[in-house]
């Protein structure tokens, strides 16, 4: 047995007492095996990894249990003793390859330094070994590339270099802490494959810490599920995924969007945070429902034609000329009323730019946008134009920056209502606010609290309630769940579906996450480098992708089939 952890308990003292980040966790790992640790944010997965290499964040401390690596007790080790462990016996791959390489030194310098540190090879031998390592991790023409700086490598290539650096110390154990979370799907698959191959080839043990069930099912041999500091279930990956025993594991698995089919709703989301009994609101007579029945369901909601946006860098006196960047290149599409239209693409493909062009934050360089029969770009009838524009609302990616921390939730939701020309008194306003909160399944007393009192998922609900307070017809959801845990994601996706039915909303759904898109969208456009490469009904995109790029994306997405 390479690694043996028994009853590990880690506490963080804070002003309210001791917070138990890890509670009596026990794990075993053999050489050549990949153990996954899965759980949601704050479950304590990273804390276990950090305790093995003695890098617990202050003021955290180990209060009980043992960690044994190859027979050596790591929990008894003092800080200087860890220098012989880190790098040599245990290597760590962190989430962000941008920050784990030194931008001022060439790859050669960094690799040779690491190799010389762990062996007594000469400089030339160390360099030969470095080239071999780069070859091992799949970097083509390593002889030339070793002379380059980190910024000359792409994100995925950088993560490969990081893995080469980790291998340079010939470790027995590798801890990979969310190694692919910062990477695009197409790169994620190759990195995971590489980690798996190296684990077998070099006979090292790997602990893979992740929140992504797809990554777990594709990569690991065994998996441990963590919930609030406790390991609730450990089993072989296949067995655990097909026959989960613990109720939390079951809930977690059912919350993962399956990649192979469309579910109507996510069924078991009982570990939830919303309120239990949603209040029924009669929309026929309610303020929120006033505008719904005027909808003409036959026309198109949005008609975008030849949309182009070029970001021109400002040429200042001192900086050299930089080429302008065509973020959106001649894009046209139509969205029907009540439809969910998805745009999928990798980071930098221009999908968020489209959202901001439609919402009016950016002005397009060319093209036209027709919204509900009105030309959005020619605002001649100003008043009517402004009113119409408020029917387009947006739900943002980061629930922490999308709410003003200095306003109470009640004020945040009241603002759009008042700006919309609401003429009622304070009591009526409060009633509407509490009804809106009920629609997003939050308690009415949430209105009196500030955003910092809420978790990410609850903040996203507030954000949705704020959007609804403008009584929109069209909602742009820009990666609305990518900052959230899976179980919260499932709840938010359920909520968005319910609201769409109740309020007859039309959605533009933007995401990089294909399984999620499959669950929500009616039609999907695939975007690459500012252009649409393919547009089709959602099922058709998944079952019969026509364009090469779409086929690649679908082949590379982490498969999680139930």
């Amino acid at each position: 047995m390479l690694l043996k952890i028994e009853n590990l308990t880690i506490e963080y003292p804070d002003r309210f007492g001791n917070f138990r980040a890890v509670d009596k966790a026990s794990l075993k790992l053999a050489r050549g095996e990949i153990l996954g640790i899965v759980g949601e944010s704050g479950a304590g997965k990273s804390t276990i990894g950090n305790s093995i290499i003695g890098l617990l964040q202050t003021p955290g401390k180990l209060v009980g249990g043992t960690i044994e690596l190859d027979g050596q007790r790591l929990d008894l080790l003092a800080q200087p003793g860890f220098n012989a462990i880190r790098g040599k016996k245990v290597g760590v791959i962190f989430q962000d390859p941008m920050t784990s390489l030194n931008p001022l030194e060439t790859i050669e310098a960094q690799l040779v330094e690491t190799i010389s540190l762990h062996s007594n090879l000469s400089k030339t031998d160390a360099k030969l070994q470095a080239i071999e390592l780069l070859n091992d991790v799949g970097i083509t023409s390593p002889m030339e590339r070793i002379k380059q700086y980190p910024h000359e490598f792409s994100g995925g290539m950088r993560q490969r270099v990081v893995i080469a650096l980790v291998l340079a110390g010939k470790p027995d154990l590798i801890i990979a802490d969310e190694p692919t979370t910062a990477l695009d799907v197409s790169i994620q698959a190759t990195i995971l494959k590489l980690i798996r191959a190296l684990c077998r080839k070099k006979n090292v043990g790997v602990i893979l810490v992740t929140h992504d069930m797809g990554v777990i099912s594709e990569t690991t041999d065994r998996v441990a599920v963590m919930y609030m500091g406790k390991i609730v279930e450990v089993n072989e990956t296949k067995k655990l995924l097909s026959k989960p025993k613990h109720p939390y594991t079951k809930a977690l698995i059912s919350a993962v969007p399956p990649s192979n089919r469309r579910v109507h709703r996510f069924s078991r989301v009982e570990f939830n945070q919303g309120r239990q009994n949603p209040v029924a609101i009669d929309l026929g007579s309610h303020w929120i429902g006033e505008t719904i029945h005027k909808l003409d369901t036959t026309t198109t909601m949005l008609n975008v034609r030849n949309l182009t946006k070029i970001f021109k860098p400002r040429n200042s006196l001192f900086s050299p000329k930089i080429e302008s960047n065509v973020a959106v290149n001649n894009v046209s599409f139509k969205i029907a009323i009540g439809e969910t239209y998805g745009i999928v693409g990798e980071s930098g493909s221009g999908k968020s730019t489209i959202a901001r062009l439609i919402s009016g934050i950016y002005k397009p360089d060319e093209g036209s946008i027709q919204f509900d029969g009105l030309d959005l770009l020619n605002g001649k009838k100003l008043k009517e134009h402004k009113k119409k524009k408020r029917e387009i609302q947006m739900i943002f990616q980061d629930p922490y920056s999308s709410l003003n921390g200095r306003m109470k939730v009640g004020q945040i939701i009241a603002e759009p209502i008042l700006i919309g020309g609401f003429r009622g008194n304070q009591a009526e306003l409060n009633l509407i606010i509490s009804d809106l909160l009920a629609m997003v399944e939050l308690d009415a007393d949430a209105a009196r609290k500030y955003p910092h009192a809420f978790s990410g998922g609850q903040r996203q609900r507030v954000s949705i309630a704020r959007a609804l307070a403008s009584r929109p017809k069209f909602l742009i959801c820009d990666e609305p769940t990518s900052a959230l845990d899976v179980s919260i994601q499932a709840q938010i996706l359920n909520l968005l579906k319910d609201l769409q039915q109740k309020l007859k909303l039309t959605y533009l759904f933007i995401s990089h996450d294909l399984p999620v898109m499959r669950q929500v969208c009616d039609r999907i456009a695939v975007m690459k480098k500012g252009q649409f490469v393919e547009e089709n009904a959602a099922e058709a995109i998944f079952n019969a992708p026509r364009h090469k790029y779409t086929q690649d994306l679908i082949n590379l997405m982490p498969k999680f089939e139930q």
């Binding site: 919402s359 408020r390 947006m394 003003n404 200095r406």
Partner: protein
């Protein structure tokens, strides 16, 4: 009211305060000095502004020693004109603090206003405001204050000069200090403008003025408070410096700086107390306010990572 008090006691802000000995000490010193200055007419044994009560025979009385001619005793001694140093310090602090607070308030209003406009409007307006700020920053602020003081004094009619002196002092220190506020407010406002809640407010249809007042301004208040506290200490020192140089408070209303200037002449002839006690008062006042400002910055800005 009760709930607000309870919330405050439970807040991280109060927790950080009650666990920082430096913050508690400087808060106690600063507030007691300010309190003494406010109630100066009640606790001061003499009135230094009333020439009728002064007795030249009391001149140069040493601290705690009974004057052999008049039989008066002064805790901190008396100056060359027989003014009680203790009373004069109390009254002098009133002037120093009044000038300091007013100047910071003036600089704050001006700086926050210009900083918000620079961040919100951008472009050429931003460039003009920030270049003026840069130009002003390339001169020592005391020089700017003296320049403004000189011009303002030249404009006011001679018979008004003594009455206007304090206001001119406030104006000149305030005008030399707004740059800090404008820079910090512009910086934080530009960070806030990138956040998604501003985008949401635009979609809702909030007017740009509403965005800056309701959304941006409340979020830059913490940085403004920090700058204001540190500026207060600087403003008090600026006032003392100007008065020391003889261009500040009028001789009939001596501030701490004026006292230090008077005392400086007698430092080497043995009458050390005339300069020592006013300097000590200035030191305590400026230091405690400054330390309070430091603590405030560490507490309100978690990015600094100082616990």
């Amino acid at each position: 009211m009760k709930i607000i008090f309870k919330d405050f006691i439970g807040s991280n802000f109060f927790y950080s305060f009650s666990h920082s000995p430096v913050a508690i000490c400087s808060f106690l010193i600063a507030t007691s000095l300010i309190f003494c200055a406010i109630i100066a007419p009640v606790i001061a044994p003499y009135s230094p502004y009333d020439p009728a009560t002064l007795n030249l025979m009391n001149g140069f009385s040493a601290p705690l020693k009974t004057n052999e001619f008049t039989g008066d005793t002064f805790v901190f001694g008396a100056d060359d004109q027989g003014r009680d140093i203790f009373s004069t310090i109390l009254y002098g602090m009133r002037i120093s603090l009044f000038v300091g607070f007013s100047a910071v308030l003036f600089a704050m209003v001006l700086g926050v206003f210009l900083g918000l406009i620079a961040a919100m409007v951008g472009g050429i307006t931003d460039a003009i405001i920030m270049r003026i700020a840069d130009i002003q920053l390339s001169f020592p602020s005391i020089l700017i204050a003296m320049l403004i003081f000189g011009i303002a004094k030249g404009i006011t009619p001679p018979e008004m000069r003594n009455q206007m002196a304090i206001w001119v002092l406030i104006l000149s220190i305030g005008l030399s200090d707004w740059v800090q506020f404008a820079r910090v407010v512009r910086g934080s406002a530009m960070v806030e403008l990138q956040k998604e809640y501003v985008e949401a407010a635009k979609l809702i249809g909030v007017h740009p003025i509403g965005i800056s007042l309701r959304h941006i301004f409340p979020n830059v208040v913490p940085s403004v408070l920090v700058i204001a506290t540190i500026s207060l200490a600087l403003a008090i020192i600026s006032e003392a410096t100007l008065s020391f140089l003889g261009v500040g408070a009028p001789p009939t209303q001596p501030s701490l700086g004026t006292l230090i200037r008077i005392g400086q002449g007698f430092l080497f002839s043995g009458e050390w107390w005339i300069i020592f006690f006013p300097s000590l008062a200035l030191l305590l006042l400026a230091l405690s306010v400054n330390l309070l400002g430091d603590w405030l910055r560490n507490t309100l800005d978690p990015n600094l990572g100082i616990k």
